[in-house]
Symmetry: C2
Subunit: 287 residues, 2 copies
């Protein structure tokens, strides 16, 4: 790893990482469509739309507007090019050479029922003159403070903790804290949700191990979130609870547009606006 | 004006500016309540809430949730203190001495009917080691591209042009262009609305004249916008038109949280969150 003339080991992982993100997308979409089938009449189905990036690469948006999933977007992308001069200075390993390659998956689900938490997950591999993995997942209960929200959060955290513990003794504590710090709204003095894990610039020196961890993070999401949805989707709710859900969704919008690095970076550097803003909730109130 | 040891002439205008912003607020609120009275049963009324800023000063939010005005907020504030070191460097006249005083009025109205344009207006006086006025107003049709939207915009622009023309031959052209450039969403490649005027750092050397211009900008708003509302409020609309209005409102949110300097500055420097986010539309969709 100290031979500066050698490309990062991540170079060799590009095909496998690309394939993994697409396969995870397929499995998640299938699991979510199964939930729709269990949710009653007129189940939703994902609609896929491919997009290309003028400088190189592109992605596929998969969006489902269903009965249980009010709106869920799953994006995968493989992009390459050169960071703008300003951005290159801020990016790991791009100070001297602004070329980059990035592949990843990102998902945001907003649910019809206020009893079912919203969720976000994202994992990615980025290659500049260095290479690293990043990602995570976090849960947003729409009825924070309730016993159910606490149970769901505990279950979600346990799944990520198990994945973390298989790869690094300090991973869970470190990545949970990072998540809590990242998904915080200073102007509201509120966390965005119930947390989860968040990691970035993960380059342990063993790219294969870091990729295995990233795969386990994806598996943890797939194992945990659909179970939470199935547990809560049948619970009844009142119009007042729905209204409170729409108001709480405003916090999600505020976070994504005011603070989220990915959203702001994407929008301000000519990313695919539709794909980036797929994360916006379908209906929101600021009463 | 070249005697650097003298305080800016704006110093003497502080009481008059403070009183003017409050009086304009009173007149606008009265005009809007009159419209509510003309809008049918159960007319809305403004509710006032005062807030204080720990470092000094404060403001009053006036909010009405009515039948014609779905949500309108009119804030006045008089605040003083010291800019943070980072911010002082960016602010006119605050490089050496971070003390500032600022008073102003800001207003955002979101209307129930998609036939009635939304509106924003703001005027302010700021005093550091320098003093200046800023502000403007802009109209956001929710059915852009229609003949009605064009008529409303022309009427609104004409009112501001008349105010500008009384004070500076180049004011209208300059401030209209500034508005068009400022209220633009690069990620959508769209203007936020139909424009109006925007000016900042106005210090012509005659503070009294600049204050008179700022008053005329307020008068232009008061003369023009209530007329537009009255002209459109009785027009019928379809559920599809209402839906399209809610989607278009998303652009307003995107602009305010991603690009608006006032919103971001306020939220990131401990301003009054409720007062700042009063500008958010009451209901929004990103379908």
């Amino acid at each position: 790893m100290n031979d500066l003339s050698a490309p990062p080991a991540h170079e060799a992982l590009k095909p496998a990482a690309t394939a993994w993100f697409a396969a995870l997308r397929d499995r998640i979409c299938a699991a979510f469509e199964d939930i729709e089938d269990a949710g009653g009449a007129d189940p939703g189905r994902f609609v896929r739309t491919a997009w290309e990036r003028p400088e190189g690469g592109g992605g596929v948006m998969s969006v489902m507007r269903g009965q249980v999933f009010e709106k869920v977007g799953v994006n995968i992308s493989v992009v390459q090019g050169h960071f703008s001069a300003d951005f290159a200075r801020q990016m790991h390993g791009a100070g001297e050479n602004a070329a980059f390659w990035a592949a990843g998956i990102s998902l945001v689900a907003h649910m019809r029922s206020p009893k079912v938490p919203a969720v976000h997950m994202n994992t990615r591999m980025i290659v500049t003159t260095k290479g690293w993995f990043g990602g995570g997942g976090d849960l947003t209960p729409l009825q924070p403070g309730t016993a159910e929200a606490g149970e769901d959060a505990a279950f979600f955290h346990a799944a990520y903790k198990a994945a973390c513990d298989r790869h690094g003794a300090d991973y869970y504590e470190k990545f949970k804290k990072w998540c809590d710090e990242y998904f915080y709204l200073p102007h509201r003095k509120e966390p965005r949700g119930a947390g989860g894990i968040f990691y970035d610039y993960l380059d342990s020196g063993d790219a294969g191990a870091d990729f295995a961890f990233t795969r386990d993070v994806g598996e943890a999401f797939l194992a945990a979130y659909p179970q939470i949805v199935r547990r809560r989707m049948g619970e009844s709710f009142t119009p007042e609870e729905r209204e409170a859900q729409l108001v709480r969704r405003g916090r999600y919008v505020e976070f994504n547009l005011l603070y989220d690095r990915g959203t702001m970076f994407g929008l301000k550097t000519g990313g695919n606006t539709e794909a980036i803003l797929m994360s916006m909730p379908p209906e929101v109130k600021w009463p």
